[in-house]
């Protein structure tokens, strides 16, 4: 069984479009995250949610809007996509203290053309 699953795995879209990436974890964790990995493999946190409440918003443009309908899901909606949004987006979850061992999904490779 997949612990943290993201859909879709690949997403190719045109500039200006709106898209969503879904994430679900079946680990019973309280905290979920979105990370962005650029072409240089640099990983940077975007958001974290704890029990459906926003904990961290790491100066992400407001075109990015996370939504957590319940603590097992954290979706990422992106409006007016730009070329610079092309990256791999990872969802993760953790239990216990926020910012400790996190389990990552397989990633969504977003390409904006």
């Amino acid at each position: 069984d997949t612990a943290v699953s993201q859909t879709p795995k690949y997403l190719v879209t045109q500039m200006g479009n709106d898209k969503s990436i879904k994430c679900e974890q079946n680990l019973g964790h309280d905290t979920m995250y979105w990370y962005k990995q650029d072409s240089k493999k640099f990983l940077k946190i975007m958001f974290s949610y704890n029990n459906k409440e926003l904990i961290i918003n790491e100066t992400v443009p407001n075109r990015f809007s996370p939504k957590s309908p319940d603590k097992a899901h954290l979706n990422l909606h992106i409006n007016s996509l730009e070329l610079g949004d092309s990256a791999v987006y990872f969802c993760a979850s953790s239990q216990g203290e926020i910012g400790t061992e996190a389990f990552f999904g397989q990633g969504t490779r977003l390409t904006v053309v």
Partner: protein, 113 residues
């Protein structure tokens, strides 16, 4: 900071030899550190973590060493195998203060058969 413009450091090791991957962390207040392994096309996978009240921690074939004086972290992998080929990331956090993992640049480890 971001790794834009930097090449991913690489380390090539003969199969069966020991590997040492180094990481310089940025915040002297960080009290939690973690190593992740990322294989091609996959999400980061937890290897081992260590808190600042420890200098050394051992797992299966891996050892993490922490030197707080010089803000240095290392990951030792014993008897490397082809499956160890991946990008390795260190990450730091201030528990109950920062609540987010800040990732380092990453090191690409290649195992030579």
């Amino acid at each position: 900071g971001e790794s834009v413009g930097l090449h991913l450091p690489t380390l090539s090791v003969q199969e069966g030899d020991n590997s040492i991957i180094n990481c310089a962390y940025s915040n002297s207040a960080s009290d939690y550190f973690i190593w992740y392994k990322q294989e091609s096309g996959k999400g980061p996978q937890f290897i081992i973590d260590i808190r600042s009240n420890m200098d050394k921690r051992q797992g299966q074939r891996v050892t993490v060493l922490l030197n707080k004086t010089v803000k240095h972290l290392s990951l030792q992998i014993a008897a490397t195998q082809p499956g160890d080929s991946a990008v390795y990331f260190c990450a730091e956090n201030i528990l109950f203060g920062n609540e987010k993992l800040t990732f380092g640049t990453g090191t690409r480890l290649t195992i030579i058969p």
